[in-house]
Every structure is written in C-alpha cells, then in structure tokens.
Subunit: 265 residues, 2 copies
Amino acid sequence: MQIDGETKIVVIVGDPVAQAKSPELFNALFERYGVNAALVPLQVPPAKLGAVLDGLRGIVNLAGVVVIVPHKIAAAAYAADLSDAARQTGSVNCLRREMDGTWFGAMFDGIGFVKGLDACELIVRDKSVLLVGTGGAGAGVAHALVDAGVASLDLFDSNTESLQRLERALRSRGGTTLIRRSMPAAQAAHDFIVNATPCGMRANDPLPIDLTGAHPDAVVADLIMKPAQTRLLEDARARGLATHLGRYLLESSVETMAAFLRLVP
Amino acid sequence: MQIDGETKIVVIVGDPVAQAKSPELFNALFERYGVNAALVPLQVPPAKLGAVLDGLRGIVNLAGVVVIVPHKIAAAAYAADLSDAARQTGSVNCLRREMDGTWFGAMFDGIGFVKGLDACELIVRDKSVLLVGTGGAGAGVAHALVDAGVASLDLFDSNTESLQRLERALRSRGGTTLIRRSMPAAQAAHDFIVNATPCGMRANDPLPIDLTGAHPDAVVADLIMKPAQTRLLEDARARGLATHLGRYLLESSVETMAAFLRLVP
C-alpha cells in the first residue's frame, strides 16, 4: 500500500485499539479494489471521544470512523442520523462523514455475525440460540438473529438493565421469534451458543457460559477476536463441540462497511 | 508498509493537502528504520483547524502533526510551548503531542532549506541573498539563513506588515548580517535568489521575481514543491541560471522532524 496526499482516510477508534484487526482487513480490501484509501488506528480514551469526533468531522478527506469497544454506544449520540440496526441497538460500529460534515451512524456487527455463520454454512433460520451479553455487540447480534428468522432467542446478562432494554426492543418488533430470559448455561435445546460479553479477552477471565448441558451438535461462537481461541472456545473444543471464531464477524462485514463508506462499489 | 492496531500515527494537515509529499517521504523513512508508524494526509479547512487540533490532542497513539499551508501561523497559537525557530517565525510546521496531551510546536522549514542547499554543496555563509516572501515559510528561511551566517539578506513582500515584522525580528537578533529592504528583482550582487511566496503554485501565477538583472552564477531557489518546475525556475533555466527545487527543503527536514516526533533515533 502507498499513502500519498490524495489518500482518503478511515480511522478506527477504540481504547485499547492495539488488538484491532480492521487495519489489516480494510487496507487489504482497498488494495484489492485499487482504491486510494487507508484505515489507521486511533486510541481514544472515553473522556476524549466527543472532542475527537468533533475534530474528525472537520476533515474533508475523512470517509468515516470504525467504532469499537468501548465507544459503540457513546458514539451513536454524535450521529445526526442512524440506520435501522443502529437505532435498534442504540449503538454504532461505523460513522460515515456526510458532505455537510455530519455523521451517519450504522451498526454492522449483527449482520456481520449472521453473514459469517452463513459463510461457514451455518444457517440460523428456525434454530434455537443462547446469547450471553446484551450490550452493543450483543444487541446487534440479537436483532440480526431475529431478522434471520431464529425460532427462539434465550438471553442472559448480569446487567439487568441492559437485558431488559434488549428484551423490550426485540418484543416491540413483533414477529415469531420466542424471546426468553435464560441462565448463562447451555441447554440441550440450543443449536447455537453465543458469547457477546468481553469476558475472555484476558487470560484470567472466568468462563462466560457453562457448556455442561450443551447438545453434542451445538455450535459455540465467541464475538471476541483477540485471543482468537478464547477459554470458552477451548472449553467447547475439549467437549467436542463445533466452534466459530470472532473474526468471521469482522471479515464478513468489512466489505459491507467499506461500501457504506462509499470507498468500494 | 503494513498498518496494524499498534501503528503510531502522524498526520499532515493542509488545505489543500493532495499535493503534499510528506506521506511518501515519511512513510519511506519509517520503513527504512523498521518503525511501526504511518503518516496520513488530512485536508482541514482553516475554519476547522481549532476543532481538529483539539480532537487530535485526545488520541493516545498520535505522535504529532505536520503542518503545511495555510495553517503554519494559526497552528502556532495551539502550542503550549514553542521551539526557538517557531517563536522567531511565529509559525510551526510540526506539532509534537506531549504525554500530557499538549502540543509542542517547532519550525523546521528554515533549517531544512539550508540543509537542502548544503546537501547540494551550495554554501550560504558570507553570501548575499534575495528573499521574496516573508510569511511563515519566508520567515523560517530568513532566520535560518542568518543562523548560517549570510552576509546580507535583501527582503521583499507586497504585504508591508509581514515584511516589517520580519525585519524587526531579524534586527533584534543582532549579529553581522545586513538586513535590507529590496524590490522583487534580482541584482548582480545576489548569490542566491529565493521565492518563499505561494506565487507559482498555479500555472497562471505571475513571476514572483524579475530575474533580468541576475548574475550568471546566481542560484535561483523556489520553496514551492508542486509543480517541481515553477515558472520562476523555468525562467531561471532559460537564462542559464542554476536552480534549486522546493522538495530539497522537505527531503532534508523529514528525518529531523521524525526524530523530533520521537519516532526515529
């Protein structure tokens, strides 16, 4: 890749940001398309997010911002307009800089997760899913699973407020998916078991889900990207269960996000 | 070059910025040193400079900002502290982000210009120089020429205020260099004839200096980098005079600036 004065810029904001895989994935995509654009990482503490986003709005050749932990909910408040998924989840993972210098916020985590499963020929329609974690990432995944027609969605979060908010939002959509409250423990009925909590990013984190009761054909997915093999996924493999890595979510949404930012067709 | 989550970021702010050569030069330097850093261009309109610099201050992995036209004077006001050359010229071409999130401003244009001449074995000590243009770039070059021991410095600017400010600043330094006011016309006594105005960036710009009276051994230098061959340099070549390109200034100061930003030894 070659950066020159005419390069369009995308940034990723997170804290930390060192673990982010978006720079490699987006820059490889730009190279593949022959697009003169580059994505660079910016480590932004929560207290500085507002000032940083206000500043970035003033940059003419900035296409947009990829938003990761812990900014997904806070960043939504800076968007002048939001996509349906961003509105449903109250969070964004991408801000596009519009011509007038305002942000349009979107959330591709959920659709990226479902696309990532699709790419591995794992179909969620009519299946039963346990989802642990109902923050920004979990909410995005929950709405996308409902969009994809899962039969039932069992939810857990130790943060009751977050859990209730997501339950209400999912139920207000109507549709046929059963929305239930659950324990963070797999049951034989679950086809998919999904960790959407940050628990597992550090080596000493406890297991976010008890897999003891899981069906032998269940698929265990973790949204965490680094480490690639979380303790939960290791536990699943030790039990002979199929696993699905966090990076598939991002890999499946990078092209969608670059198109949203109007950098690739 | 490969950008990942741990890459340190430097930005260049200008308006326009498409013509900037810093991205290629800095990124090649980082590659040569095996440093995980990248410089990216940001097009920032003057009205947005304050907000952009305030935002950039909040980015932990931002090493600093390279500042080009038209922001060199305005950006100095955002620095908590200034180098001698920045103070003398009232302008900065580089802001380093300190640990506490403040900016330290420095100006390397002048020393870069003299270093660029040195690299071409063009020695200014005890020589007579005509300098046209006394804005940020011109002032930086003027102070560096005095530092380098020129015998006389003839100054012109159509902006009398800018001209008087520079005359006062140079005279207040004491020393032996003759500081004189001049017309924008070469005389036989001038060893070096320097354009530090933006006149020549556009194809239809008038000539900033009349070379009719130039000595056949005079060297004509232009600080403009794009186009490489300005109308002034073409006129000089047509008259058989030696020429010195604008890009030598930048090429000679890139390593100094990267060291100032603490990215190379």
